[in-house]
Amino acid sequence: MEGQEVGGRPLQGFLALTKRELKKWYKEPLLLLITVLQPLIWMVFLGKAMNLGAVFGGGVPPELARGLMLRSFGTTDYFSFMATGMIAVTCLFTTMFTGFSIIWDRRLGFLNKVLSTPVSRASVIFSKVVYATLRSSFQVLIILVAAFALGLKVGPGFHPLHLLGVFLVAFMVCVTFSSLFLMLALRSTRWEAPMAMVNLMLMPLMFASNVFFPLELMPGWLRAIASVNPLSYTNDAVRQFTIWRLDRGALLRDLAYLGLFSLTISSLSVYLAKKYLSR
């Protein structure tokens, strides 16, 4: 970090900026309500609407239908597959707005004021990353509570402590995406281009992954894209922690990939921030 913060605690500026974002969030009841509602709507409407269980089970003996489901989705209940996928989708949607908050700060002159103080550029970026991550984690909590209430079928060998793993994975994917979207907006003074860019990226990110459908059933080219998408690794890890049987090898691969990915992207965003935040 550039410049020592004279006399104060080492992370003082970073914590203050994070606190500012958090206060703006919880002091606004409507915003808080929307944060709660958004993942619930996703899960209830999408999760219950796409009843793939009924599709697979149509006209076949129930025994065979269960086998088909289990082979394709790793669980007999499509809602459980879908609900766990919603964790990554919610993280994606919440973090995507971090980029806009930095444009807003620039427009209002707040960013210029902060840049003229000794606070490090990394703190400016990380305060927003951490805010988005905390906000997403709160939503993940709501999803988990609701999913269990709506009848999530846990996998064999499930232990409540596995849920901590879910939060770890959510943390990594949030760091990745909020850094990515911040990076795109670093020098922007206008909404239009970053907004279009986010819209462009959103659908491919969501559908070229295993959120709704397992990779194994995808055509080869799509599977190739999906298998580099960090969302796929997020879902894989989340499902291992909840609805599937835990496979140590696969889980380690997921965590390593996500860890590396988030580390790379966040370091890159800090590097670019130091270089380009001052225009």
């Binding site: 410049g3 004279v6 500026g13 000794p118 225009r279």
Partner: protein, 330 residues
């Protein structure tokens, strides 16, 4: 005397457009120095470069002896900035906003708390410190920004359009606050304004900036004197008035239009009685006499060839200013 701000050939080009064009100036310790110019003349861009927010594309600048490009951290620690916009968070209270600034400067908690309360009472916001900023008026917001800019006890304070959009009374009270800072803390102040009265009232020295270039520099009275002094206008009937006027000491120029004479003099108040006496001795009566001191307005007109007006601004700038004006009116 030590120079707290030094800019040499400072230049900033945005996509082929030169916003600040080889500007050279210095601000002495304890001085209030003003950049006077129309919107879009390059004032804010200059402040942004001096406060390390923008990188110069040419030339160099030092603040408190530190290079703004090579030692930005040292510059940032020794300056305070009050931007043109209202940057305080509306959702937070006044106190929370000042504390945020204290944390950005890394002040120890207790020290920050002490200074925040001191500054809030200095700008007379103590009774409102726990109210959300969205309830503040324009003048209160500006004073809050001032408190934030002073939290690190800066050696140089940068004020960008400190009274933009404020009413006359509020403007006068902000001026008093700025003047008292210099008086009480010996602070060096660099400000920009497009209000002539403001530059005249506050600044020890002024640089007139237009199209990114400094066209004139000096103290307000020097600038006014550069116009050739005061103007006496008199009405007098009779012969030989012009000759008598020209012979008087301190008279620089006489223009006659019928019975009306326009006389440029060095100091109006000393020349006027002499003039009356000289004309009286010849038996000539002055029917009417008026004395006009030159205003910065005239200096401005003379130097830039036009009155203060809006120039081509970026849409971003326009929006920022609209937001500021909108908030100031509440």
């Amino acid at each position: 005397m030590r120079e707290m701000v030094r800019a040499e050939e400072l230049t900033r080009v945005f996509n082929g457009l030169t916003a600040v064009d080889h500007v050279t100036f210095g601000v002495r310790e304890g001085e209030i120095f003003g950049f006077l110019g129309p919107n879009g003349a390059g004032k804010t861009t200059t402040i942004h470069m001096l406060t390390t927010v923008l990188k110069p594309t040419g030339g160099r600048a030092e603040v408190c002896g530190y290079d703004v490009v090579k030692e930005p951290e040292k510059v940032r620690k020794s300056i305070g900035v009050v931007p043109q916009e209202y940057t305080a968070d509306e959702d937070l209270t006044g106190y929370e906003n000042v504390m945020l600034c204290a944390d950005l400067y890394g002040l120890p908690r207790e020290e920050g708390r002490k200074r925040a309360l001191e500054l809030l009472s200095l700008v007379q916001l103590e009774p409102f410190k726990d109210k959300r900023v969205e309830t503040y008026s324009g003048g209160m917001r500006r004073r809050l920004e001032l408190a934030c800019g002073l939290i690190n006890r800066p050696k140089v304070l940068f004020l960008d359009e400190p009274t933009l959009g404020l009413d006359v009374q509020t403007r006068a009270s902000i001026w008093e606050h700025i003047l008292s800072l210099r008086e009480n803390f010996g602070m060096t102040v660099f400000l920009t304004t497009h209000y002539l009265e403001e530059a005249d009232h506050l600044c020890d020295r002024i640089a007139i900036i237009d199209h990114g270039k400094i066209v004139e520099e000096g103290s307000p009275s020097e600038l006014k004197d550069s116009l050739g002094g005061d103007l006496l206008t008199l009405e007098c009937e009779g012969e030989g008035v012009e000759e008598i006027l020209r012979a008087l000491e301190g008279v620089r120029e006489v223009k006659a239009e019928g019975r009306e004479y326009r006389v440029k003099v060095t100091r109006g108040e000393t020349v006027a009685p002499l003039l009356l006496k000289a004309l009286g001795e010849k038996g000539l009566t002055v029917k009417r006499l008026s004395l006009a001191k030159p205003t910065l307005d005239e200096v401005y007109l003379e130097k830039t060839g036009k009155s203060l007006r809006d120039q081509g601004e970026s849409p971003e700038e326009v929006i920022k200013q609209r937001v500021t004006l909108w908030r100031a009116r509440r």
